[in-house]
Symmetry: C2
Subunit: 282 residues, 2 copies
């Protein structure tokens, strides 16, 4: 591999560039971003040079799309004609069904495999990028079909992801979206709803009663809407279904409280938490 291009040099794209460099990749790293960000990325040494999308597509054997979801969706239909026929295109968008189906319709000459690094930071932007961002974190690949995983460029990408410390795993785009609706989008919405519900019901004088539990459960409520908008817009059905599951459970719990028998709910919940700890912490 001689040329990698990062399209959207923010926290994720910048971290990917730094990480592969640190892992020994010695080819060129091109970056496509707004002029200000591209200049900053070059100055920081994150990318070797800032180029246009057309130049990047014409040169790169690996195109890493790390823009917001809707920008990726806009880009994919134009990309196949620009890209090298031997290119591998992958993306880092947080929802996958729409991206993968759009790619399936439009990426015909090049090869596409969807991706989603389960990594992030509170501070965004290329200036917060970090070669260690992916270390120890799950990196989900969502191919068109499992056979793509055996193709050399995808084998190479997978090896590269493992070299930067990611734990690579494979899911279909649909399973991915159903899963993250439950593991990521639902917790965000629960935290948002809890904080919004409390906002008009507690004075500052009452808030002094807050303990670590409230801080934990409302931490996600600080997330800016701008990073959630695309996610929520592109995973509506799975999120609606996840919300329905939670609403049922809350109603069940409310009825059980009235009857004084919530121990079964507590036991199921504690059992899930133990299982989660085991999966996450090994």
């Amino acid at each position: 591999l001689q040329t990698v291009a990062i399209v959207g040099v923010g926290l994720i794209g910048g971290s990917f560039a730094k990480a592969i460099r640190a892992a020994g990749y010695s080819g060129r790293i091109l970056g496509v971003s707004s002029p200000a960000v591209a200049r900053q990325a070059v100055e920081l040494g994150v990318i070797d040079s800032a180029v246009s999308l057309e130049e990047a597509a014409a040169q790169a054997e690996l195109l890493y799309l790390s823009q917001p979801i809707k920008r990726i969706l806009e880009l994919l239909p134009r990309l196949d004609a620009m890209a090298r026929p031997d290119a591998l295109i992958t993306d880092a968008g947080s929802t996958k069904s729409l991206i993968v189906s759009t790619a399936r319709s439009h990426i015909k000459r090049a090869l596409f495999v969807g991706g989603h690094p389960m990594a992030g930071k509170e501070s965004r932007g290329v200036d917060n990028s970090d070669a260690e961002l992916f270390r120890g974190r799950t990196y989900l690949l969502t191919p068109f079909d499992a056979a793509d995983l055996e193709r050399p460029p995808v084998i190479y990408l997978r090896g590269l992801l493992e070299k930067i410390g990611a734990r690579v795993s494979v899911m279909s785009a649909e399973e991915h979206d159903r899963t993250v609706a439950l593991t990521s989008h639902l917790p965000q919405l629960v935290s948002t709803a809890l904080a919004a519900a409390l906002s008009s019901n507690l004075s500052d004088g009452e808030l002094i009663a807050a303990g670590p539990g409230l801080l934990d459960t409302t931490r996600l409520a600080a997330s800016p809407y701008e990073i959630w908008q695309d996610i929520l817009d592109t995973n509506r059905a799975a999120i609606d279904s996840a919300l329905g599951t939670l609403l049922n459970e809350l109603q069940l719990l409310r009825n059980a409280l009235e009857q004084g028998n919530v121990s079964a709910s507590f036991e199921r919940a504690a059992g899930f938490r133990r299982r989660l700890d085991k999966v996450v912490n090994g």
Copy 2:
């Protein structure tokens, strides 16, 4: 003050004993607990001697009730006849309306003021007690009426709590219970419901997609039911109302998602979180 008695020498009672000793209290500290715990508390130097409830009540000028809520509710009707007429009785129960109204009906000779230290630890028991447990944490006092705060034993208690580092604040028992239903009991139930809802919907292979947000929002789900049973049983109306508020907010959010306009909910939620951070971290 020459004699303090701790009734229920667990994490909270043991920490109170250690904390007042560390803060310079030089009188006797008696402890009432099961024989095994009382022996352990003496061996650890947390209390000076283990006595019966009758002995403790006959001698102590300050009775600190740090048992589970229902044990406190059982004890209060019997305590007035045993206690010294000049005694101050206070408790550390996590709900206050039922305790304060029970005390109001039964504590006639001695003086009673309710209390709730917003402090705790994951590990319970006297062997985990800690003289620093209350430092920097809110300690709510819930008097029968505000005039009690001017009586010398209550002034003394308040000073003692400040000496051990607690931030003392005053609420009516009803405001306390409405407030903690929102700041503590609702977050617990949300976390329980979220974890219970996910338990039957995610395989271990899918759980690898979990990130820090799911860990934060389900941390409370590990809480054992035994410490919540009394709380939930003695604050049902306020908790039901808090759950109703949350269910409305979630339904609102679900409808807004369908219409693609959830930004207002995100903004209210983020505003609450900023206010919470300011109150908690100053």
